[in-house]
């Protein structure tokens, strides 16, 4: 149970701190904000916006497939629909929303005043937003990509995808990989260097571990897709031959590069979901998750192993069979660390005191849905079986079971869980339960029949199918389920919108949870904590308070952040942090012009650099008043 600190902060100090860390007023102030909470909320809202868009696209697809030889959507539009759906969900929703939650929560959970590199964090958000808007603008102008979210060459190459559609897709990759990489750097640095004193690595919350591991994976995997998409852009724009077998290139090179990124990418989505699970189950079982070390090692093992699986997306190609068997083994073995996590959670549930609220329901659904998806994953890991069900609706069923079960359900639970922290109000529990059950039933109605459809021979990415093959009924059922999902999501939106004004006031810690973000107000003050906490254990708010409890002496008239050591979080030095700045936004605009221009001409890479250089220079140019403030804060060593 949490205790209010005995040494309450004087109101004047808190007010000065608030003023120091506030954003300037007006539209420019909002654009210049580098407050990770502001950026985090925007990031989450934007990601959910893309989720809705992707869901609408899926609804259209399901309406087309409800009946055989339906005439609602033709082949060209359908190709754009499934490409946009996949691209949106993978690049614009699933990965960014996890990073968004991390951006909001990680500094609070580690007891920091700010996220590391706040301006770069803002820039990463703007780049993500602009990339997504570019893609949807392109889609609305009939130049949206239509070669699949994975854009296999030669179909996506210059000869078979005329026009600029695939170029917009390839450039979206550039936007999202830049954003993802920068966010990964921000998260890693925050977790390593800005933790509250006493929060040694073995006391870091499991959600933060999950985000740290994910961020490292992003660093290693994103460059592969960057190379792949750069090769594609060059092939299409400039005439290189990376993927041209006629001139020594290789169509499979694309697949290797893409999937070397693409497989870890689903773990960028899944591992944060595991982090959410640990946070939710701990709070709603009223005990820490069982087996902390095993949980952390499992996260790390999953991350490592996930880099050794990518060929399982290529089992139908003419790669050597013995090599493929290696990837069968690896794809099956990765189930072990995930199994460890699941068993530890079951042990947590069995020995806990269970409290059923909407966030807990969403977490519990994970066990049913993700484990089922994991089972079909084991089936797909086997080469012979994959050769039958690869590129069929069986895979569609599997991927939705693991991604929605493993990430979206925990994500919705996380939304219900942390919404009070972000807004100060609880979401409606009644609407939440309706939301949950509709989503659970709708999801299974939609995707379970697809296992059967795949086994019965229905391939993926077909805009229609003939009558008489026995697929009609199951497709109709799946479409009905999709409409149920739509209703459920509408409920979620309504709940979130309504609760912003009419939800019950939450207070600091409505769930009586253990981690540090609940030690401050809801929503948190501008500087996160009036005085940063000092941590003495893994569950700071559950353990009896010990002295020292807070960090005193950080400046309140300038932005000062305490930097600690990597392993044991001993105070290391005090860093002066920058004031709000419009330059990340302007740099993102300039970078957008550069990227979009280079879709049309390689010369954009040259003349587009000028505004970017100017904006970056303005960004990094030392501001006199900031420098003065930081010099004033310096203390000579004694």
């Amino acid at each position: 149970m949490s205790e209010p600190p005995a040494d309450a902060v004087p109101a004047a100090e808190a007010a000065r701190l608030h003023a120091t860390w506030s954003d300037p007023p007006g539209l420019l102030g909002r654009l210049a904000s580098i407050d990770h909470k502001v950026i985090g909320r925007r990031f989450i809202a934007t990601a959910f916006g893309f989720f809705l868009a992707g869901g609408l696209l899926a609804a259209l697809m399901r309406l087309q497939l409800a009946r055989p030889q339906n005439g609602l959507v033709g082949p060209d539009l359908y190709a754009q629909l499934f490409t946009m759906h996949g691209t949106t969900m993978m690049f614009l929703f699933a990965v960014p929303v996890m990073q968004a939650f991390a951006v909001y929560l990680v500094p609070l959970m580690v007891g920091a005043r700010s996220i590391a590199f706040p301006r770069m964090n803002a820039f990463a958000y703007w780049i993500y937003l602009m990339g997504g808007l570019m893609l949807y603008g392109a889609f609305l102008l009939n130049v949206g990509p239509d070669a699949g979210w994975f854009a296999y060459v030669p179909l996506a190459g210059p000869e078979y995808s005329p026009g600029k559609r695939v170029d917009f897709w390839a450039q979206l990759i550039t936007f999202t990989e830049l954003s993802g990489l920068l966010e990964a750097i921000v998260i890693i640095t925050t977790v390593f260097k800005l933790r509250a004193p006493g929060m040694a690595l073995h006391r870091v919350p499991l959600f933060v571990w999950a985000m740290l591991v994910t961020a490292f994976m992003v660093l290693f995997a994103m460059p592969a897709v960057m190379l792949a998409s750069t090769g594609l852009i060059l092939d299409r724009l400039v005439g290189t031959h990376f993927y041209n077998p006629g001139e020594g290139g290789d169509a499979l090179l694309w697949q290797h590069l893409f999937w070397f990124f693409g497989h870890p990418e689903v773990y960028f989505i899944f591992i944060p979901g595991l982090g959410f699970m640990s946070a939710l189950l701990a709070t709603f079982s009223r005990r820490p998750v069982f087996g902390y070390s095993a949980m952390v090692l499992s996260l790390i093992a999953t991350a490592f192993l996930s880099f050794g699986l990518w060929v399982h997306h290529m089992f139908a190609t003419n790669l050597p069979e013995l090599g493929k068997s290696f990837f069968t083994a690896a794809s099956m073995m990765i189930a072990i660390p995930s199994a460890v996590q699941i068993f530890c959670w079951i042990a947590t549930l069995a020995t806990g005191r269970l409290w059923f609220r909407t966030p807990m329901l969403f977490a519990l659904a994970f066990f049913f849905i993700l484990v089922l998806g994991g089972m079909t994953g084991l089936m797909l890991a086997s080469v012979p079986l994959d050769l039958q069900v690869h590129d069929t609706y069986f895979v569609v069923a599997h991927l939705h079971y693991v991604l929605i079960g493993g990430a979206v359900f925990p994500l919705f639970g996380a939304l219900y869980y942390w919404y009070p922290k972000m807004t100060g109000r609880l979401m409606s529990e009644r609407l939440g339960r309706w939301n949950f059950w509709l989503f659970f039933v709708g999801f299974n109605l939609t995707f379970f029949p697809m296992h059967q459809l795949g086994l019965e021979g229905m391939p993926r990415r077909v805009y229609t199918y003939p009558a008489g093959l026995g697929w009609d009924g199951l497709n109709l059922l799946a479409t009905v389920g999709a409409l149920v999902i739509a209703a459920s999501v509408a409920l979620l939106l309504f709940n979130a919108w309504r609760s912003a004004r009419h939800g019950e006031p939450a207070g600091d810690n409505p769930w009586q949870a253990a981690t540090l973000e609940w030690a401050t107000a809801s929503p948190p003050p501008r500087a996160n904590f009036d005085r940063p906490p000092v941590v003495h254990g893994r569950e700071p708010l559950w353990e009896a308070p010990r002295e020292p409890r807070h960090v005193k002496g950080l400046a309140t008239d300038a932005r000062e952040v305490l930097v600690t050591t990597v392993l044991d979080a001993q105070p290391d030095h005090r860093a002066g942090y920058p004031d709000p700045s419009i330059w990340p936004f302007v740099s993102a605009l300039a970078t957008t012009v550069l990227f979009v221009g280079s879709i049309f001409t390689p010369w954009a890479a040259v003349w587009g650099l000028a505004p970017v250089a100017i904006a970056l220079t303005a960004w990094f140019w030392p501001k006199p008043h900031e420098t003065d403030a930081h010099l004033r804060m310096e203390r000579a060593p004694r």
Binding site: P4, P75, A79, G148, P154, L155, P245, A251, R287, P288, F290, G291, A316, T317, N318, K324, S325, T328, M332, V340, F343, I346, A347, L349, A350, R353, W355, F356, L364, F367, M379, S382, P384, L385, L387, Q388, E429, F440, L445, F448, Q452, E456, G457, P459, R461, V462, Y463, P466, G468, L469, G470, G473, L474, A506, G507, D508, P510, A521, E539, W542
Partner: protein
């Protein structure tokens, strides 16, 4: 800072119905999802002709066996995990917001839980090794299909049709056809797979797993069809606008019937005797048709579109999109884009008598 909050629910926080309703709902969802399996019982015409669960040959049968094994094992594992999960939910005590968190147990160490988790993990690892072995053994068996006296067929995939060349030790006995393969029952077939433009995938689920056809690479696939019948295959790698319209029909027939079919395929087209068909042939050769299509025995020798030498003997047109028949053939020729939007075959506004003549000629191509 810590304000008193009203209870979130009016219900007392006793062992509530939540876990029961949860389990019930899960069961309902599972049943709902499984119900459709029963629908397979009474298939309408054509159902089961493109189906991995109805095997017509040893490759598909091996894979189906593996599927059954995996389904059983994974089913047992899933049930076990759900049982453990259900038991944990059922038996755990209930808590509320104000329940003091349990910290002593974790600090002391929880040997029982640790043993259970370790045992479950160990069992999982052993089970996974078993599945790996099963998978590798199946892979090996698939690779060991006896290939003596194999029929060699070279398949080239195009956007959006299948070109098939039946090879023979005697080159004069090779022949080409398109979109419809006939295979002798019980005889192994070795397919050599090429792609002309983009990546396609050959997949006849009743007979075998799939194989991608990748430009610049040559793949092979060995299969054997044991059960006579008509099977439907479909391209299984997104290849553009008419990926959905790129079906392949595989007719498996006894040796004698296959040999008769192959002999017919080797013969060039007979010159038409009927004046209307002759007029049709002139239209074919003098017009756009001969620019892309070949008919052995005439001057039309282009290979950009399906070989039409024995068109009238095929069950379907346009890679399975249109049933073959006089009226459908005429409709297809007049406006291919109405059936297959995005097709590379241009439409023609023929005069009615010209179209009739053309169709009459094509119908002589048995």
């Amino acid at each position: 800072m810590a304000t008193r909050i009203r209870p979130l629910q009016r219900r007392p926080h006793a062992r509530g119905p939540e876990p029961r309703t949860f389990a019930a709902a899960a069961l309902a969802a599972l049943v709902l999802g499984l119900l459709p399996l029963a629908a397979v019982a009474a298939p309408p015409f054509g159902a089961g002709s493109q189906d991995a669960l109805r095997t017509g040959g040893p490759q598909a049968a091996l894979i189906l066996d593996l599927w059954r094994l995996l389904l059983a094992v994974c089913g047992v594992v899933f049930a076990a995990v759900m049982a453990a999960f259900g038991v944990a939910l059922w038996r755990a005590r209930r808590g509320t917001r104000d329940t003091p968190p349990e910290l002593q147990g974790p600090l002391r160490g929880e040997p029982r839980s640790a043993r259970l988790v370790a045992a479950a993990t160990g069992a999982s690892a052993v089970g996974l090794c078993g599945l790996i072995v099963a998978s590798v053994l199946t892979d090996r068996a698939l690779a060991r299909l006896p290939l003596s006296n194999a029929l060699h067929v070279e398949l080239t995939a195009h956007q959006w049709w299948w070109q098939a060349r039946y090879d023979d030790a005697d080159p004069s006995r090779t022949f080409e056809t398109a979109n419809e393969l006939h295979l002798p029952a019980g005889r192994p077939v070795l397919l050599t797979l090429h792609a002309d433009d983009v990546i396609h995938s050959f997949w006849v689920p009743n007979l075998s797993g799939k194989k991608d056809l990748i430009p610049g690479r040559t793949a092979t696939l060995a299969l054997r069809a044991d059960v006579p019948g008509r099977y439907r295959g479909q391209c299984a790698e997104f290849c553009g606008l008419q990926h959905a319209g790129m079906a392949l029909e595989v007719v498996v027939e006894p040796d004698a019937a296959y040999a008769a079919w192959a002999e017919r395929q080797r013969r060039p087209a007979e010159p038409p005797t009927d004046p209307q068909a002759q007029r049709g042939q002139r239209l074919f050769l003098a017009g756009t048709c001969a620019m892309c299509h070949a008919i052995q025995g005439t001057d039309a020798a282009a290979r950009r579109a399906p070989d039409l030498t024995h068109l009238a003997g095929r069950a379907r047109l346009a890679a399975g999109t249109v049933p073959n028949g006089r009226a459908q053939l005429a409709a297809w020729i007049a406006d291919p884009a109405a059936f297959k939007p995005g097709t590379n075959m241009p439409g023609h506004r023929y005069a009615p008598e010209d179209l009739d003549a053309l169709v009459a000629y094509l119908e002589t191509l048995r």
